[in-house]
């Protein structure tokens, strides 16, 4: 015996949701890797760019200092050094001029060590004869480049790009997913619900869908189609078997009449019809008299023959709409509907009694049996099959005791 644990049902999640959820983790991982790489590359690029810009700045200011230094114009030179020190990237600037051997400084205290980039360049005057004269030396200390600054510089751009790509990818995935999976699945589901029976074109909707999809989904549906066909065959077979079984279960194999099951069903239906149409009916319980001696004297085959013939005579004696069943042994029941008047009932009882009593030939012997018939009217004598059968049974035994 298999024990199934009581688990709460999983919340329904579409295939697309599952697909996106599973895709999200590698995407975020890829983003993290790409971001880290980009930040590091950006940092190094920023450093390289910064170094180039710092060199350019130092060169530019050194060039602008050439003339003032050649003219020994320290006031102008000090102004240029101050302007240099006021640049955001510059921490301190120091100029050593050769004319008056003065040191012109601006900005913070120049650090002799540390991570702050420092540049020093000689300032050279070139005269009209291309002779070079050292007129001073410029030292510039810059603020150090921060990796956080460099990261923030590139990160926001990267985030915008990432979310744009993510949006486009999710939208694209949704469209592709719907076209290649969701919509075919919907059509397959509709086709399955429509059924596998072929239409006028000779093919079923499912087959038509399978033909449209020469892919994995088509293969699955093809397998499903074949399974359904096989299942249809099996179900048909089972139905046939069930019908045969039901026939066997409901019929008396000896006489071909219905058995107690048929009696129950038919009597219930007759009762409902009588109530609905206000047309009375009756139940006749028939017990054969003299049957057992024949069975004991002439054998079971003779008894079976008596029962078969009795069944035939009872069926012949009633309308086709009436029901004749064998309860078992030598007992029969007849259900008669649309019965009008006591005379009619009695005439029927007499008719059936006479028919049963007619002698029969069996193996060169003339055999005959009688019948005790008890009747119950419905709905006067009962409105349930059990009550009617009890009433008919009593009436039948009353007749039998009067013999």
């Amino acid at each position: 015996m298999t024990v199934v644990a009581d688990r709460p049902p999983l919340p329904r999640r579409s295939l697309y949701q599952q697909f996106v959820r599973q895709l999200l983790v590698p995407l975020l991982l890829a983003f993290a890797l790409a971001t880290t790489g980009t930040v590091l590359i950006g940092y190094h690029a920023e450093q390289s760019k910064g170094a180039t810009e710092r060199r350019k700045t130092v060169d530019t200011f050194a060039q602008s200092l050439v003339k003032p230094l050649w003219d020994c114009d320290n006031a102008t030179a000090q102004g240029i050094v101050d302007a240099l020190a006021h640049l955001p990237a510059v921490a301190a600037a120091r100029l050593t001029e050769r004319c008056q051997e003065q040191r012109l400084a601006s900005g913070t205290q120049m650090l002799e060590s540390g991570d702050a980039p420092r540049y020093r360049t000689a300032i050279v005057y070139r005269d009209e004869r291309s002779r070079q004269f050292d007129v001073g030396e410029l030292e510039v200390q810059f603020h150090p480049t921060s990796i956080i600054t460099a990261a923030l510089e590139v990160l926001w751009r990267y985030l915008v790009l990432f979310f744009a790509l993510l949006g486009v990818m999710l939208a694209g995935t949704l469209i592709v997913f719907r076209r290649t999976i969701s919509e075919p699945l919907d059509r397959f589901r509709a086709a399955i619900r429509t059924g596998i029976e072929p239409d006028r074109s000779g093919t079923s909707p499912l087959e038509q869908e399978i033909r449209r999809h020469n892919d994995e989904l088509g293969d699955v549906m093809q397998a499903y189609d074949e399974l359904m066909l096989e299942l249809t065959k099996v179900i048909g077979q089972l139905r046939e078997n069930e019908q045969a079984l039901m026939q066997t279960v409901r019929r008396d194999p000896l006489t071909g009449l219905g058995n107690r099951l048929v009696l129950e069903e038919e009597l219930e239906r007759a009762l409902r019809r009588a109530q609905r149409h206000r047309k009375p009916g009756c139940v006749l319980l028939i017990d054969l008299n003299g049957f057992k001696p024949i069975n004991d004297t002439h054998g079971h085959a003779a008894g079976d023959r008596i029962l078969q013939e009795t069944a035939r005579r009872l069926q012949a004696g009633v309308r086709r709409s009436d029901t004749v069943v064998r309860l078992g042994g030598d007992e029969f029941v007849v259900i008669v509907e649309n019965l009008h008047g006591d005379n009619t009932l009695q005439a029927l009882i007499d008719k059936l009694g006479e028919a049963i009593a007619q002698p029969q030939e069996y193996a060169g012997h003339i055999l005959s049996v009688g019948a005790s018939i008890g009747a119950a009217r419905f709905p006067d004598d009962g409105t349930t099959s059990a009550a009617l059968l009890v009433h008919a049974d009593r009436a039948m035994y009353a007749r039998k005791s009067r013999r």
Binding site: C72, R118, E128, R131, D134
Partner: protein, 314 residues
């Protein structure tokens, strides 16, 4: 952390004032060049001297060359780089220039007193540098006609360029003097028309030969005052580097100028390049002498003082 130059090359770390071998080498580029060219160790080769050379100094350069030669030293001249007075002063006091021929200024005299510059007080311009004439508006051409003394000039506003030594001289004489920024094309004419300035004095020779025609291209309303010459002691001397490698140069020049002046050769050479002011320029002009607060005529040795141009004793 080391240093980088602007080409990314590593430089030696600073040690206060740059005194490393490379710094010294850079500082004395010219000197090293001169020494290499002069080849002092090589016997027989004339030394190479770095000497100031400008277009208006041809007479001075000729006199220096003649003095050196007659003083017993033959040399090859290499032009000193062109620069302003502060640069020139630095170049010669640092020994990068051996000889220059500039007017005597308070700064030069201070360096001489400090032993950082050597002066040979020979008046190369014969004192003509101190002869000044006034530029003024043509419409006011005769406004100085009645001026006879320095006191008379105190009623006029003079203009001079910022930083010129003349400013202190005029102010010392009690003449109101304004320093202006632009003058090279005669821009002061506009300030004269606005009434801010009356006069703009410049050197006698240079005004007549160069400045007046030049200014009148832009400001034709300018002219030269025909009534006055202001004169003060202002001499162009010969200056020699204080460095040891110029000792022989200095001595040769001293000897040479003594001999040149004594023989009259000085004036003959001078006359090849310069001429005294024309007689008609001086004839109708009153000469007003004012003092130079920084030095007087006594700066020129008595033996050489006769070289100074004196029109009144001709």
């Amino acid at each position: 952390m080391g240093f980088q130059d602007t080409r990314g090359n590593m430089l030696p770390p600073p040690s206060g004032r740059a005194r490393g071998p490379r710094a010294l080498l850079r500082r004395h580029t010219v000197l090293v060049l001169v020494l290499a060219l002069s080849g002092l160790p090589a016997a027989g080769a004339p030394p190479v001297l770095v000497v100031q050379n400008e277009a208006h100094l041809q007479h001075a350069r000729a006199l220096v060359g003649a003095a050196l030669e007659i003083g017993g030293m033959s040399a090859v001249f290499v032009d000193a780089p062109k620069g302003n007075e502060r640069r020139n002063l630095h170049m010669i006091s640092a020994g990068h220039t051996h000889i220059d021929m500039m007017p005597a200024t308070p700064a030069r005299l201070r360096l001489v007193r400090a032993g950082r510059l050597r002066m040979i007080p020979v008046p190369l311009d014969r004192g003509l540098l101190g002869y000044r004439v006034n530029l003024l508006l043509a419409s006011q051409r005769d406004k100085l006609a009645r001026v006879r003394t320095a006191s008379d000039l105190r009623g006029f506003n003079m203009g001079q360029n910022i930083g010129w030594m003349d400013v202190e001289i005029y102010r010392h004489a009690g003449i109101p003097t304004k320093e202006i920024k632009d003058w090279a094309d005669g821009e002061f004419a506009l300030q004269m028309e606005a009434g801010l300035l009356d006069l703009f004095p410049l050197g006698l020779e240079e005004t007549l030969t160069h400045f007046l025609p030049h200014f009148r291209k832009t400001y034709p309303q300018l002219t030269v005052d025909p009534h006055l010459i202001v004169r003060y002691p202002w001499f162009r001397f010969v200056w020699v580097s204080p460095k040891a490698d110029a000792d022989e140069v200095h001595a040769a020049l001293r000897r040479g100028f003594d001999r040149l002046i004594a023989s009259g050769e000085f004036l003959r050479i001078w006359s090849r390049y310069r001429r005294p002011p024309a007689a008609d320029v001086l004839r109708d002009r009153v000469i007003i002498d004012i003092d130079n607060p920084f030095y007087g005529p006594g700066l020129v040795p008595p033996a050489w003082r006769h070289l100074l141009f004196r029109p009144e004793v001709r």
